[in-house]
């Protein structure tokens, strides 16, 4: 086997552009997932039965099925229902954020449940409604606690987003496949792709750790 550093270096700019797209869809999906997850997580703890059942079903369905199948559902099955082709970018973002939302809902639920119940009682005893107490007292405190698991979720999404390559969406993994189709340099390109993923996930892990330290410091100030 001959290893060509040239192929690797010349492929780098193209791969980096793909990595930028990977970061873009991961960040957007986790951001949208955060919004979904916040509401779903709260719904799972709320007193409205129908809402709770729906939220439970959503979380169970998403966590119980592969992301790959979810991507296929959005990209291949959804057009059959709406009678219109689905844009790969839209399919990638919606599948990933709906997926992420379910996991983040569980993170939120655990975060909210970890807050001392005296906080809810204090809020309620001051005449605030359940929703007001959640919004101003419980969720802000829970948010600080869920930063580390949210960071993990983002790292998982960076890696899992490689699955959207199967619908032809050109993120990092798909770029790698395309370059290999042209150059046949599997080993060099996949190694380069792996290294880029590693750098991204490592950087995010460090960023989260720094963020966590800063938040903890603020609390003591």
């Amino acid at each position: 086997m001959n290893f060509s550093l040239d192929i690797m270096t010349s492929a780098f700019p193209l791969l980096l552009a793909g990595a930028a797209i990977t970061i873009e869809i991961s960040a957007l999906s986790v951001f949208l997932g955060l919004i979904i997850g916040c509401f779903v997580g709260i719904a799972r703890l709320g007193s409205l039965r129908l809402l709770r059942l729906l939220a439970n079903f959503y979380v169970d369905f998403i966590r119980g099925t592969p992301l790959l199948v979810q991507i296929f559902l959005v990209y291949f099955a959804l057009p059959g229902i709406i009678g219109q082709r689905v844009d790969p970018f839209f399919a990638a973002i919606s599948a990933c954020s709906i997926n992420s939302g379910a996991y983040i809902a569980e993170i939120f639920r655990a975060g909210i449940q970890s807050i001392d119940k005296g906080q809810m009682e204090a809020g309620r005893s001051l005449g605030m409604t359940w929703t007001q107490t959640m919004r101003y007292i419980i969720v802000p405190q829970a948010f600080k606690r869920i930063i580390p698991p949210l960071g993990n979720e983002f790292i998982a999404m960076l890696k899992d987003s490689s699955l959207v390559s199967v619908i032809g969406f050109e993120e990092l993994t798909r770029r790698g496949q395309l370059i290999i189709a042209r150059t046949y340099a599997s080993f060099e390109i996949w190694l380069a792709v792996a290294v880029i993923y590693l750098i991204m996930t490592f950087a995010v892990a460090r960023l989260v750790a720094a963020l966590e330290r800063r938040y903890n410091k603020n609390e003591r100030d």
């Binding site: 009682e121 204090a122 005893s125 001051l126 005449g127 605030m128 007001q132 007292i137 405190q141 600080k144």
Partner: protein
Amino acid sequence: MSATDIMIKIKDLHKSYGELEVLKGIDLDIAAKEVVVIIGPSGCGKSTLLRCINYLEEFQHGTITVDGVPLSGEANINEIRREVGMVFQRFNLFPHMTVLENLTLAPVKVRGISKKEAEMTAMFYLEKVGMAAKANEYPDMLSGGQQQRVAIARALCMKPKALLFDEPTSALDPEMVNEVLDVMKGLAKEGMTMAVVTHEMGFAREVGDRVIFLYGGKILEQGTPEEVFDHPKEERTQAFLSKIL
């Protein structure tokens, strides 16, 4: 005492946790400006009774009326709660907010007053409990006694008609108990209607207008502090008092 003087009226209150009946028919009227001290052995339902008045616990049977407004489930609990303040054993300050923010949140969100007005009110009550200098500190930086004084000021900011104290000094180091009791004495002197669950018998004797002895989910004996402490009629009361005095 005439009917209009009654701030909190409890009639035939029953409360169970599953099979276990904790309150077995409580009848209690608390007059405006009255300080009622509730004592009794642990597990007798003291805290549960207070928490029912604030509807932190649902009850199965009976009625509670606050200033003429009956407590009727979810519909008006927020209304009742804003009129009745509660001070907890573990303070329950909001750790992510400064002392001042702790005090202004509910008045702004619930009463709908301006932030500026809420801050003026907050500073007034912080001054009263001797905590004005700590307005911009976070709760974690304060001692237990200081936190509890802030918690009392927070309850006062809602201008409640009555205040409930659930063992307010039980979680404090001994040297901090008095600073909190002094604040409570001050409130009693100013005519605040108060229901206090406590083990501080000195406080009960000095400040209480009436002492209630709760035993096994019922009011076993009640009267002025002198009557209950010096001449308890019931054997159970005597036994309880001999253990703690």
